[in-house]
């Protein structure tokens, strides 16, 4: 990963957790109305970097996520831009009523973050593994839903969602375990809210990933190429509003689609793509993700294959979609 590229956005090289904390500091320094609210997860989210750099705009509310989100809504009404970097299980589940009513329905400029998303809260098990946040959040009117795929995209996406006036759900993996989040964005990449990126072009099947599954889709495309199958790879970093134009255009061309997400296969990226294709271009679709079951505690390297979040799972889905296309 290019240090120079990241430096442009005020962050240095390192794991995505550290980089998220640095990105918070960068947006805080750039915008005097940015305030960060925490619920005793500042160390794991690296919001602690913001607390250290800008302590007068850091608010620790204890373990009170509902209060934190409503508090943030009140701050937004006072002209602040509150960022609430909580674990996804707490921001998207514990505080869902508050996010729905006082952030999304109110149309307020609050940036609700869901970190440690999907299986990337591995040791904590099912209670903390938020596998349904995309499904829930994208079904709420007014809410923009973003999940960056690598550090470079995250470092651009955070300032972009802060600059965007309105409620946002910002999803991120736990980035300090299971090795660094591989870089998927090409050199010179520019993040645009609502725009998906075609990372690789193929003619046979379109692989659509979000978050950490984008790198698996790229790996799968390599494996498939060796089998003579040419795959598109799309990074959907804005789940909502969905870049349906790109998806439909590529699906029309390839005639088969695979989605891949660190999330249940119900209602998230796979659901969003299925809806878009159903409306405009019904083609065979296979969805890779967690199959309607709860997670479990364990090391990530065991959890990923157990729940099918691997390049091989994407390849199998692609083969099945190609078979269905015949």
């Amino acid at each position: 990963m290019s240090t120079a590229n990241l430096a442009m956005y005020g962050v240095s090289q390192g794991n995505i957790r550290q980089l998220f904390g640095e990105a918070l500091v960068a947006v805080g320094r750039a915008n005097p109305n940015v305030v960060v609210l925490d619920c005793q997860t500042a160390m794991p989210t690296a919001a602690s970097l913001f607390a250290k750099a800008l302590p007068e705009r850091f608010i620790d509310l204890g373990i009170a996520e509902q209060n934190a989100v409503s508090f943030a809504a009140g701050l937004a009404r006072m002209g602040f831009v509150p960022i609430v970097p909580l674990f996804a299980c707490f921001s998207a589940r514990r505080a869902l009523d508050q996010v729905t009513i006082q952030v999304a329905y109110a149309g307020l400029n609050v940036k609700v973050c869901g970190l440690y998303a999907g299986l990337t809260s591995p040791n904590t098990g099912a209670t903390h593994q938020m596998i349904s946040d995309l499904a829930v959040m994208r079904s709420i009117p007014n809410l923009t839903v973003v999940e960056p795929a690598d550090a470079m995209e995250m470092a651009q996406a955070l300032p972009a969602v802060v600059a965007h006036r309105g409620p946002v759900y910002f999803r991120l993996v736990r980035g300090d375990i299971g090795g660094p989040v591989p870089r998927v964005s090409p050199g010179g990449y520019e993040f645009h809210l609502g725009r998906a990126t075609l990372l690789r072009e193929g003619r046979d099947v379109t692989l659509i990933g979000s978050g950490l599954m984008v790198s698996r889709c790229l790996q799968a495309a390599e494996i498939l190429a060796a089998e003579g199958v040419e795959a598109d790879v799309i990074n959907i970093s804005t789940i909502k509003p969905l870049d349906a134009d790109l998806i439909v255009a590529r699906a029309r061309r390839a005639g088969a689609v695979v989605t891949a997400e660190n999330h249940t296969v119900l209602g998230g990226l796979g659901g969003a793509v299925a809806e878009a294709l159903g409306d405009a271009c019904p083609v065979p679709l296979r969805r890779v993700g967690i199959r309607d079951e709860f997670g479990t505690s364990g090391p990530l390297e065991e959890l990923f294959p157990r729940y099918g979040l691997t390049a091989e799972a994407v390849c199998e889905a692609a083969r099945a979609a190609l078979e269905a296309k015949k």
Partner: protein, 299 residues
């Protein structure tokens, strides 16, 4: 259907001087109660949460016509006091007060309540000019108020903004909600003495007397133990309400402590067959009930 919209001796709402004198406040309370019955009668669903609206009339009359610094012509005036109706189901009481204060034409009370996409919805939301935050899922309003109070103090300390008051009205029922106490703890922790919470302690939950449903006592002592400065008042006594709200908003009253005003009220106040009755948390009036209620409040 009858409809009394005389509007009180031809006075235009925006002509009422603020702060209003006691006679005007008394007169306004009668107007509010009559308009609440009419609003309920003409709402798109034929209903409102009338019991907990009637209990709030004096509190809101004093807030909107005496205590709060507002500019109805410029509802987003940055230096305004903030008012949050955390008991968002009693929205109609706030709408009536706001209409009389001049935030929108009084006609809207009778043609917009519970009508699709109209500005007056059963639960407070951002479509109403001057509304600060959606409420109605109970327990959320005070938290938003704590955020506003923190934000206002930040603007004062770091940017030289004038201090303002943040006022939130809660129901007694929503003091059974956990989030209310999360907010209470945070307000005291941050020393937000610019925050005033008023509990409309009408002593009735939806299904019965408050302490029979869930014992809140010792109620004031709970708030005091959380670090709040607690005041109590007869919530239908206008001079007492004026005094207690002015006391509550003065910084020197209790430096560093958020303020709680327990307003002892009667659910359904002013309509004898609704007073203290469990049937009027939310209700539809028959023609006869409407006429009987009107005869009492228009006396």
């Amino acid at each position: 259907m009858e409809r009394n919209r005389a509007g009180g001796a031809g006075r235009a709402p925006d002509a009422i001087p603020v702060p209003a004198d006691l006679d005007t406040l008394r007169w306004l309370c009668g107007q509010f109660r009559r308009d609440l019955l009419d609003l309920t009668r003409h709402s798109g669903t034929g209903s409102s949460h009338i019991g907990g609206e009637l209990s709030l009339v004096e509190v809101l009359a004093v807030l909107f016509f005496h205590t709060l610094r507002l500019d109805p012509q410029n509802p987003e005036w940055p230096a305004r006091d903030r008012f949050i109706l955390s008991k968002g189901h009693a929205s109609a009481a706030m709408y009536v007060a706001m209409a009389w204060r001049g935030f929108f034409p009084r006609e809207r009370l009778f043609d917009s309540f519970n009508r699709p996409h109209a500005i007056l919805q059963e639960h407070v939301n951002m479509d109403t000019p001057g509304a600060e935050i959606p409420t109605g899922s109970l327990g959320m309003g005070l938290s938003a108020g704590v955020g506003m109070a923190w934000g206002s103090r930040y603007r004062t300390r770091h940017e030289g903004a004038s201090p303002i008051g943040i006022f939130a009205v809660l129901s007694d029922g929503e003091c059974t909600a956990g989030q209310t106490w999360e907010a209470a703890m945070a307000a005291a922790h941050f020393g937000l003495d610019n925050l005033v919470a008023v509990v409309d302690d009408n002593n009735r939950f939806v299904t019965g007397p408050r302490n029979a449903v869930m014992n809140l006592d010792p109620f004031g002592a709970k708030w005091a133990a959380f670090g709040w400065h607690v005041l109590e008042v007869d919530g239908h006594d206008l001079p007492a309400l004026i005094d207690v709200l002015e006391t509550a908003r003065r910084p020197e009253t209790a430096p560093g402590k958020p303020r709680l005003v327990i307003a002892h009220t009667v659910k359904g106040k002013g309509v004898s067959f609704m007073e203290g009755s469990d049937g009027w948390h939310a209700g539809h009036m028959t023609d006869e009930q409407y006429r009987a209620a009107m005869a009492e409040v228009a006396r």
